[in-house]
């Protein structure tokens, strides 16, 4: 593959991932956008950690029918909430993003996590998504548990 082609693939992959964040922000703003429209039908969707919501979902169907129905009721909704990308490191069809999140649990307790997000892109769609974060914080705030 020529050097220009490799750079083109990298740039295109990063564009797809940046669009994911744009879509997510629009969805949180109530604009009626499906934030997962850049994910392929056979996406591998991973949430790291040992929490009740950690795991692997194979395909967008499982994400929409299993993961989201479990996750959404646990999260609060408020102005200013979102996932804010800080840094993109991309090469070829792989993109890593460092991000900060602002959110809350259903009781309104702040849930502000720090993320390492991994994306793999094929034919303009995200085929692999890994959400790596402070799962201990997520478990305690979202599920309202404490450590003993």
């Amino acid at each position: 593959m020529s050097e220009n082609s490799a750079a083109d693939v990298t740039a295109q992959s990063e564009r797809v991932v940046r669009q994911f964040f744009v879509d997510l922000k629009a969805a949180l703003n109530g604009e009626g956008i499906n934030p997962y429209r850049t994910m392929a039908g056979d996406v591998e969707f991973v949430v790291t950690g040992q929490t009740p919501l950690s795991g692997r979902w194979n395909g967008l169907g499982e994400v929409m029918e299993d993961f989201l129905p479990k996750a959404s009721p646990l999260m609060g909704r408020a102005a200013g909430h979102g996932l804010f990308p800080l840094e993109f490191i991309a090469e070829g069809n792989r993109v890593a993003v460092l991000a900060r999140g602002r959110g809350s649990n259903v009781l309104g307790m702040p849930y502000n996590n720090t993320y390492f997000l991994w994306f793999e892109v094929q034919d303009g769609m995200i085929t692999r998504y890994i959400e790596d974060f402070d799962s201990s914080l997520a478990w305690r705030i979202i599920f309202r548990v404490h450590l003993e």
Binding site: T10, T48, G49, Q50, T51, S54, E87, I89, A90, E91, G92, R94, V95, A96, L98, T114, Y115, F116, L117, W118, I130, D132, F133, D134, S135, S136, L137, W139, R140, F143, R144, V145, H146, L147, E148
Partner: protein, 138 residues
Amino acid sequence: MPSSPKDVVREFVARLNDGGDPWTLLSATAVVTINGTTPLSGRYPGFALIRGILVDSARIVIASLKVRIDQLIGTGPRVAALLDLSGRSVAGTAFNAEGRLCGCVFAVNAGMIEEVILFPDTSLIEIVLYGRKYVPDV
């Protein structure tokens, strides 16, 4: 001698695994950040704190650790990796035998690592290394 930032990271990980000296690839003013809120988490600037707090604290709970690079990307001075961190606690419990991956970012300058930001499985750290449990709030 490793040349590219990715080569430096590969050599650093190789030395971590084979008992070599990884410190000669770390800048004396390197900053290591362990994401999260575990007893090992925090920002450690410089050798004195990396060794004196992070490494010494980790040795109390980790008996053995193996680092495998699953993915490594980056065309500039900052590289991102998916790592498989597995091993055994001092209590004898194996951790991450499943080979689950975690994220890590390295900043490399002139052949030396200046920054490491690791995103470990923090709930696994609490459970396996510190023997803690997550209990519902009243």
